[in-house]
């Protein structure tokens, strides 16, 4: 995605956040450091909230004009 033309940075960011924060390989077990620090969750929530806000904007004005295609 990074190497292709991006028509809308907001839509692309939303797609990235959707995947990187919520998908991918999740390792469980003691060998992996938990990222459950309160500060991290707080900071993480700020990122998630901003992505939700972006989604709300999209819902209000769905992919108007140049936002129809993220690439």
């Amino acid at each position: 995605m990074g190497s292709v033309m991006t028509k809308s940075a907001d839509v692309t960011l939303l797609e990235v956040l959707d995947r990187v924060l919520d998908k991918g390989v999740v390792i469980s077990g003691d060998m992996v450091i938990s990222v459950a620090d309160v500060d991290l969750i707080y900071l993480g929530l700020k990122v998630l909230l901003s992505s939700v806000e972006t989604m709300e904007q999209l819902r209000g004005s769905p992919f108007a004009g140049p936002m129809q295609e993220a690439r």
Partner: protein, 268 residues
């Protein structure tokens, strides 16, 4: 030393290209048997979670994608030291291998479809009214009116869901021809008709895009978003861990640990 994990790759070879990781850290690969785990070293666990960090993570995974089949790690996967990392690789090796085989030469495409939900509902209401026009009869009681309204709402919702199903089915028949796996989510919100991820053979990517454009042009009232190719974030599946199976791999791990020592500190 904390290791930040970006992904698992289908090769134990070193990364040829210099890649910058989170906050400019050096990205390198640590081999385990015939696969590798791509990491960088970070000092503080409490580095802030920012949009920039997320994009840096994704940029590393995409660079890896150019040369390898990659299993992208969830953002902020950290392991405390090399021993723990190798223990993790030992524990998940078969899962990683299976996923790497399944995802070889494939990439993910995201498809979102937004439909004019208000207009769809309006259309449904009009159709239902034309099917059953209001009759001038004796004045209904409040209870009867309540039940009638509730039933109408139910019929509208049911028809709304049916139309969503019909559209998604038709679209999926068209796009699904070019995909090997898919994840479809219907009506996450009333307007977001479809949020889908398709796993597509790289050789089929052009056909998939073309099919998407055909569907898009056939539905001018809908809004479409196609994104990709992505690393297969939505298609990595790890099985639950069986302690007996993990123990079975312990001997293999001992061999690998010896080979790690022979290879050197980080396999770069």
């Amino acid at each position: 030393m904390k290791l930040y994990l970006y992904g698992i790759v289908d090769s134990s070879d070193r990364i040829k290209e210099a890649i910058d990781g989170l906050r400019g850290s050096r990205v390198y690969s640590i081999p385990y048997c015939d696969i590798g785990v791509v990491v960088s070293e970070i000092d503080q666990v409490t580095q802030g979670v920012t949009q920039g960090c997320v994009l840096e993570h994704e940029a590393v995974v995409e660079k890896l994608m150019a040369d390898f089949t990659v299993l992208p790690m969830r953002f902020r996967t950290l392991v405390d030291g090399r021993d723990n990392l190798l223990a993790m690789m030992q524990s998940y090796y078969r899962d990683f291998k299976g996923n790497l085989e399944r995802l070889r030469n494939k990439s993910e495409f995201g498809v979102k479809v937004i439909w004019p939900a208000d207009k769809v509902k309006e259309n449904i209401v009009n159709r239902l009214r034309s099917d059953q026009p209001e009759t001038s009869g004796p004045r209904r009681s409040a209870g009867t009116r309540f039940m009638k309204e509730k039933f109408e709402r139910y019929r509208i919702d049911e028809e709304f869901q049916t139309r969503a199903d019909q559209f998604i089915k038709a679209m999926d028949i068209f796009l699904g021809k070019f995909a090997v796996e898919k994840r479809l989510e219907k009506l996450k919100t009333e307007k977001l008709l479809l949020d889908a991820a398709y796993l597509v053979e790289k050789s089929q990517a052009c056909d998939f895009r073309e099919a998407f454009w055909h569907i898009k042009s056939a539905h001018p009232g809908f809004k479409f978003l196609l994104s990709g190719p992505w690393p297969a974030y939505n298609f990595v599946g790890l099985s639950k861990h069986d302690p007996a199976r993990d123990a079975e791999q312990a001997n293999l791990f001992a061999e690998v640990a010896r080979s790690q020592d022979l290879v050197g500190a980080d396999g770069v």
